[in-house]
Symmetry: C2
Subunit: 106 residues, 2 copies
């Protein structure tokens, strides 16, 4: 008897030592994991696992690499985590004003 589980790996740097196959409707699957690699030891990836999503953290990332990742992911479903500075008073007024504008626009 088999069952399907979804799981999240550790958040770590250096996910090397694995290959993937598939694509399109089929989905992306782990093809091969090198035995003593970070993919195996740290991320616990196993052959046959389906890769549902990858969250890439942008701390200490090279500008060029961030750009490439964003460019290649542009056609696909994506979710960003953001940090935003907001002016506490001003922002409340601003978003109220924007709301009004949007309503008029509709």
């Amino acid at each position: 008897e088999t069952m399907e589980v979804t799981l999240k790996t550790e958040v770590e740097a250096g996910a090397s030592g694995f290959s993937v196959k598939g694509g399109g409707n089929e989905g992306i699957f782990i093809k091969k994991v090198l035995k003593e690699s970070p993919a195996s030891k740290i991320f616990s990836l196993r052959e046959g696992d389906q890769l549902l999503s990858a969250t890439i953290f942008f701390d200490n990332i090279k500008y060029e690499d961030a750009l490439k990742i964003l460019q290649y992911s542009e056609p696909y479903r994506v979710q960003f985590s953001l940090k935003r500075k907001i002016a506490v008073q001003e922002d409340l007024e601003h978003s109220a004003a924007q709301h009004k504008k949007e309503r008029i626009g509709q």
Copy 2:
């Protein structure tokens, strides 16, 4: 008075219409957002936002694009979401056996 908030955008496809700057210690920031673009309208990105992370969903992704994203993100902190088929009985025995082996190995 200003405060910092962290927020997550919608999960949608086609995050186009923005550019980024920064990199390294500094972090990656939204440089410019085109007014009527998905980046602005769907993802609500704003100039000055810091991009903490991006979660890319691999459903219906081209093999080549998934590969590139994985290659470019290899040096950085990453977390995967996986779907795994497990044999219910067999797996319990298997993981117990593995545990023993690992302990002997240490």
